[in-house]
Symmetry: C3
Subunit: 682 residues, 3 copies
């Protein structure tokens, strides 16, 4: 699969459709398809959770209704994304094979209930899924309007049954080979924790061990691997029938209140198994604890993160046209917000706007989750009009398809192992570790100044970037330290921070001064890290100013680095707080403490000036509440100018550009409405 996910001639616009809820009301289905046309929908996701309609009793398959949906879709030129139904098993399956029910960390097996509640290891569940997927592949794998497989739904969670415990042991055996190696990694010689038999290994549990940090980390890795293994098993029969249909599964992330990355599965790893990344995006627009601009920044970061997993365009598989039903406060999108939010994601490289769901459920868990066709009002709603309007806009943007996000010169390092280990580190302060928030803090300047940023993992190539930012890299392998060193020596500019290079890949502490390559890179040794209580502050003296410092201060001893700024207070006053180190043709800066935003803004401002990373755009804005993203290909440049505020504002178009939503040429001062969007192209 190349950079463009589907070489579509249009962005996908549609969503989850579960006619299985109205099979006894064909009139509803008739009206729904008419409504799809009216809303300019061109894609429909079928089959999510539909297992009991497809196989109501073991071995008794009913595909007629699904056939009809394919036909109806085809009749109005809608693409179909077909889901495997494994996200919710039927009751008969649980009744016949209790082993498919997940076991909790307390060792108790669940009853039937909810979704995503099955054991990933169970051979029977895998076999039943294989049979179903095989049937689906055979029946629909060559349908012309099938464009994508949607595997299961929002994989997550873990099972602690005996089968999973055994699989975990096998996974550990493959990894460590010997108990000696495992005991060393888990530092079992302390607390009499050495295993003398593989059979003694149990997953972390509140009834057993929760403080063996190496074990905790391996369990998280195993859960990802076992989930991927299950995913791969789901995919096998599909690919066997038609290898040309790409596969995805819908990832999660960006949820309130932190708008942070999903942390239960290593998506960087998982993404290597899907053909295209897709995700479900549910920001809580209009909340009362942050500005729309702030939430937009965080949501842009989440989009950049999703794009970064494969460094290619991605899909929005779910979002809501109005509001969800599971936020703490289920606040309606204001007029304009749906278009604003949807085009934000397109601007970052999404090639779709898909909804959960097209027709709202009448009852049970999801009956209040916003949908294109509502219980209250049907299609005679503000929501439906918003969707139809977006449909029109997406049609007007057809020319933008086959572009990708402007290539970034700035990268931020993000790593799941590090996130997990840092969260589990029994030191610092759990209340203030804030790994993802730190990434947001470093991202902010670039977003506000319309400078594209790519997220990179530890296995990614750093050489394409002029600036690499590597915040709070607590668990860092020597290989990555070497990569950082090489990057700088070859002319890169690196910015690192406090709490980096503390433990290795086994979660064992580095000894002495730490990794030589890291010391060489930053030109300093960290002697200790001071953790501040919430109300305590130090200060940073730099740029002839004083900035507030909170939470964490690395105390450093310079080898080759120079101090750019020093601490203002306490027993380490006057020691280096921000440093720079010339190495080879590059430079590595070390921000040894956590500062408030104003320092980072100033710091990155001077760095951007120096490295000439400024966005060069034919459009000037007057406020950071407007963000401008660029999609492009060899011939086309498209500028998404989005106003993340309820107040209108002005932008200046320096050279004549085509307004892609109207076809008009515009130049000079242009007004943008509150929550308004302008899309210009050359």
């Amino acid at each position: 699969m190349d950079e463009m996910s589907f070489k579509n001639k249009a962005f996908l616009h549609g969503g989850d459709y579960n006619p299985d809820q109205w099979l006894d009301h064909p009139d509803v289905i008739d009206q729904d398809f008419k409504a799809f046309a009216n809303a300019k929908l061109n894609a429909v996701t079928l089959g999510v959770f539909a297992w009991d309609r497809l196989e109501p009793a073991e071995g008794e398959y009913h595909f007629e209704w699904l056939d009809e949906m394919f036909d109806r879709a085809a009749a109005q030129k809608m693409n179909v994304i077909l889901a495997t139904p494994s996200g919710a098993r039927p009751r008969w399956l649980a009744a016949n094979y209790p082993e498919v029910l997940r076991v909790g960390e307390d060792g108790q097996r669940n009853q039937f209930g909810e979704r995503h509640n099955h054991c990933y290891t169970s051979p029977i569940y895998r076999e039943k899924v294989r049979q179903m997927n095989q049937k689906l592949a055979e029946r629909y794998g060559h349908r012309k309007n099938l464009i994508l497989w949607h595997i299961s739904n929002e994989y997550s969670g873990a099972c602690y049954c005996d089968l999973c415990q055994a699989a975990f042991r096998k996974w550990l055996q493959a990894k460590y080979q010997t108990l000696e190696a495992l005991n060393h990694a888990y530092w079992g010689a302390f607390w009499s924790h050495e295993y003398t038999d593989w059979a003694q290994i149990e997953a972390p549990s509140p009834r057993g061990d929760q403080n063996v940090t190496g074990l905790n980390l391996d369990w998280r890795r195993f859960v990802t691997d076992q989930t991927i293994d299950f995913f791969d098993a789901e995919v096998a029969p599909l690919r066997a029938v038609n290898p040309d249909i790409p596969v995805t599964t819908n990832f999660m992330g960006g949820n309130p209140p932190e708008s942070d990355v999903f942390d239960a599965l290593d998506y960087q790893k998982f993404a290597q198994h899907v053909d295209v990344v897709s995700w479900d995006s549910y920001p809580n627009w209009g909340n009362d604890y942050e500005s729309t601009e702030q939430l937009a920044m965080k949501t842009s970061l989440m989009n950049d993160t999703m794009r970064s997993f494969k460094h290619q365009n991605y899909l929005i598989m779910e979002n809501t046209p109005s509001k969800v039903n599971w936020h703490q406060f289920n606040h309606a999108k204001r007029p304009g917000m749906h278009s604003m939010a949807s085009l934000q994601e397109i601007a970052h490289g999404a090639d779709s706007v898909m909804y959960f769901q097209l027709h709202q459920s009448r009852g049970a868990s999801e009956m209040f989750h916003g949908a294109v066709i509502s219980n209250r009002g049907g299609t005679q709603t503000r929501t439906f009009r918003d969707v139809a309007q977006l449909g029109t806009q997406l049609n007007q943007l057809k020319g933008v398809v086959n572009t990708h996000r402007k290539v970034a010169k700035v990268a931020i390092v993000f790593d799941y192992d590090n996130m997990w280990a840092l969260a589990d580190a029994r030191t610092y302060a759990n209340a203030s570790k804030d790994y993802w928030k730190t990434i947001q803090d470093h991202y902010r300047y670039f977003w506000e100044h319309d400078i594209p940023v790519e997220l990179v993992g530890v296995n990614d190539d750093l050489t394409p970037y002029q600036l690499v930012i590597d915040p709070m890299h607590f668990l860092m392998r020597p290989e990555f330290a070497a990569k950082l060193k090489a990057y700088v020596q070859n002319g890169g500019h690196l910015v690192g921070t406090y709490i980096s290079g503390v433990v290795d890949g086994d979660f064992l502490a580095y000894q002495g001064a730490g990794m030589p390559d890291l010391i060489t890179t930053y030109g300093l040794k960290v002697t200790e890290t001071d953790t501040l209580y919430p109300s305590q502050r130090n200060s940073l003296r730099i740029f002839n100013q004083k900035y507030a410092v909170r939470d964490y201060c690395d105390l450093v001893q310079l080898t080759t680095a120079k101090a750019l700024g020093t601490y203002g207070e306490d027993f380490y006053a006057d020691t280096p707080a921000v440093t720079c180190n010339q190495l080879g043709r590059g430079q590595a800066d070390y921000v040894a403490c956590r500062t408030d935003a104003d320092f980072l803004q100033k710091f990155y401002h001077q760095l951007v000036q120096r490295l000439q990373l400024q966005a060069e755009l034919p459009i000037q804005k007057k406020t950071t509440k407007v963000a401008i993203q660029v999609r492009e290909n060899d011939t086309t440049h498209v500028y998404f100018v989005i106003n993340y505020s309820h107040e209108p504002t002005l932008v200046t178009v320096a050279t004549p550009l085509t307004n892609a939503l109207t076809g008009q040429t515009e130049q000079g001062t242009q007004a943008i409405a509150g929550y308004g969007v302008k899309v210009y192209r050359n």
Copy 2:
């Protein structure tokens, strides 16, 4: 049973007495009975939790001590209320028949412990209770001083054992007849949740399903029905022996911090099975987060609620003369408060003031719960004096017995199904649904202005009322919408609010514009409901003023209604926020948003003027800290004038009235002490 609960010549004054604690100390019991006389007690409740003294080993009964208590009571003309002891089973019963122990929602069976901890379904428990009740009925059912059966104690809770699960399935089968009907109601076609066998049904559980809202609602209904079924089984042997002794069970409600109605059992339904409603009233007088006046308003509402279950006089079965031991802060009643609080309940239609308990326990769970005779001080206490003083007052009020609360022209609709469904609705914001608080908010104006209010259920007749207020009626059946329409058409005045008529009795969403009868009634369609974050505000422009709006805003489209007020802000500024609709001979107002109290005060003020609902009283007060309630019969009018403030105040008696507590005639300006009460009669 008629309007007066017992045709007593006096209010009942007494309480729970457990001499079973001092059977080895007859001197204590001697002194207790002397103290009862000194405190002017005329009723004693015996036998609560006394099972192991009545049947210390299986089949070995000991009634001698209870006989003696009946005799002692008779000797000093005290009535006896006799409890069935099922609220706390003896240890031998649990040891011999473990099935009587309740099973938790996690599936684990409890050990012996606490109270109210038995399975309501267990045939063995029912049989043991039947045997005991049969014995009690035979031995005491014709005792002259037996006036009432007190069935068990404060029924509540649920059991999840296999017997209960089976009973639940049977209950569902009787309700739905077919799995198709049940699957439709639970919207099982989504998430592959369709049942294919009745045996697959399990009660909601954290280990299973908690998001099938229809199932959750049915489980709550079943728990009520099964509890009532157990209650009916307890009553059967009693009635068989002497059908003339009325039965009750003590309800709960009004507890801190919200002073809200008890929500675990549908008391509206349960009340139809008792002969007289009784309840346990424990307001936290003197707390620091609301004024005494506010708490008095909420407590008046609770009394009106209890009265409304059968629309007849009721009993206070428990209260404390001093303080309880289970509030967060166990603060002593200030001087005067006990009389103030007791006469408040009499004023609302209570025919008793009963205490838990008459003699304080020396040890274990309840040893610090306030009692008439205390551990510390015995009868030489402020508390005992307060009780004796109230005894004197109640004697002076003998003439008030055989009156009932003044008939109300104003009704507020309250419904358990609606309360449960709204609480479980996966939308809006759990933090701000506040159903009972909303009822309190609407009740407040009338209470402050001494206008009687009746609570009505959905099965009640609305025609007696000039004004019906129906707040947040989220789950509403079509039959009730029709009833509202007929009520208005026939000249009634209806006030409804935001979030009404959203789901039907199965918890399924109404489609399209909603119930036609509701649209006709209010003359409008709700197009969407906006949920605000806690700090967000809209405003309401009405009466040439601007009022703050928070939490919820229905956006409406008028059909026949007219806007009385409009929103002041946001994208729905200038659209209707308060409306009125003329229909037939009546009018229906719709308050589409949640406002602060000042709007409701103004709104109801003009409505009361217009409908001429003002209280016409021969006593004028100067402050809303004084409330005046009226009890009456054909010939007598009794005015309870209560000062809910620690500050003295004045009232004006317009025409000469008898002070019922002194026998004096009073007229003109009269002083009322802090927490003071005046009772006047014509």
Copy 3:
């Protein structure tokens, strides 16, 4: 064992050392021992948690490495404290004998995991521990550098397995002899809770009973007794081999956020079984919610508490040279703080400064707990230098060894039974009981004024003290009331407070006016206790001033006492709030309400004047941020002058004294650095 714990010629300086973590790296161990010498360490604790290195498979013992450690220690004249390894059992032991795994209060058996996780009752575990301890005693019991046995580690927790339940029943049978007696104590006649068979007894549990306060209290007592019984069983084989080696086990206490006493085990009782008290001290120096001075006061109280358990010198068995890894915020000790904190403990009677641990673990649970030799930096750290500096200081203080804390004339009563009962009392307000904080509040004046205080238990002799303070003595036995009376009659001065003498040793309420001896002692009867809500205040009028009163007010009726102060508000305004009673040759004051600190300061100030309890010191300070503690023996007086502030200050040395840390004679004004310490001797 006499007053001096070891007749050492030096304070012990060292800590936990687990070379078992580096047996495969002899170079590490070589370096470690060199570092010990550099840090002036003279003691090493070996074997804590080392079971699986000592017995890696059942019956297969490996002592060679431990032999070597003894030899290495001996070679550099280091003492050895040898731990029994029972705090963490090996995996094979749990695998072979699952009964050793603890069962939770929910009845579920734990998996292997964590530490301190074994059943104390299990005969098999006791036998395995006996075998191990026997081996250790035989091999090391006569080693010359063995100075102390360290039994297990931080005993705590409870097990609810069938063996423990049976032991609990046996314990109860021994205590009560008959079920009648037990039923009376548990007040089982109420709620049908009478036991009819000993087999019906179960430990308190959320699945069973949690409200039988007598049962709860007995369970806590049993847990202490069973723990001690296990401890005694551990000690038996050690003493059998060499009765001359003293034994200890490390107690806990003083942890954030309250710096309160450990409440899971009755250390007053446990201490009678150890030869010397030792404890693990981890104050969170430098936190942001209290001043260093406040935390120092609380930490001094904890040290006084530990000393009071045997009224003799004690050991610091663990502390951190830098920071721990389990505080909410793991904040580094500032320069000077390590010496300040260590000498504070020496000043109060500690004879050691021992660390957890000497060489930091590389992995797992404790890898970030501060240690003498760190992962980061090894010995090239601020921490190592702090330790070495303290080593030097301790060497300079050799002459101070063989002194004890100056004998106190002031005692505060503290009792575990009372603490447990008060915490479990179902009355007052759980949010404001604050028993330990109340002790801190009463201790504060004396600490600020350098007046030594001893904690005393209810079995202690009160006659040595001029002033006894007995705060919130809720559970008080008649014997202790008699002791208080005798104390006062014989000339003692007693101060008691609200909420005293409420229940007896069985947790049964005293009847009537309460214990005659207590009434005689204080000359008053308490008629009721008023519990205030958090924002409510009364006031106390005394000393011609008005002080704020909060939380609790006893209302009292004087018999022979006189009022010193009266309440200012509410219905008990003008009644006595602080009283004094002359009795025999002494006086008993009763502080009937909880006041803010300023009253207590004033109250104790006048009392200290009157009783002439002022500290008479040759050193004057200018601020309460400096505290002065005295250690002495017949010939020597040593003054520890410690500045608990980051700001330097001055003291005046009135007569020439030797600065024990420099050998210089000093007189007149002397500067003390921030967190600085001066030690003077005559």
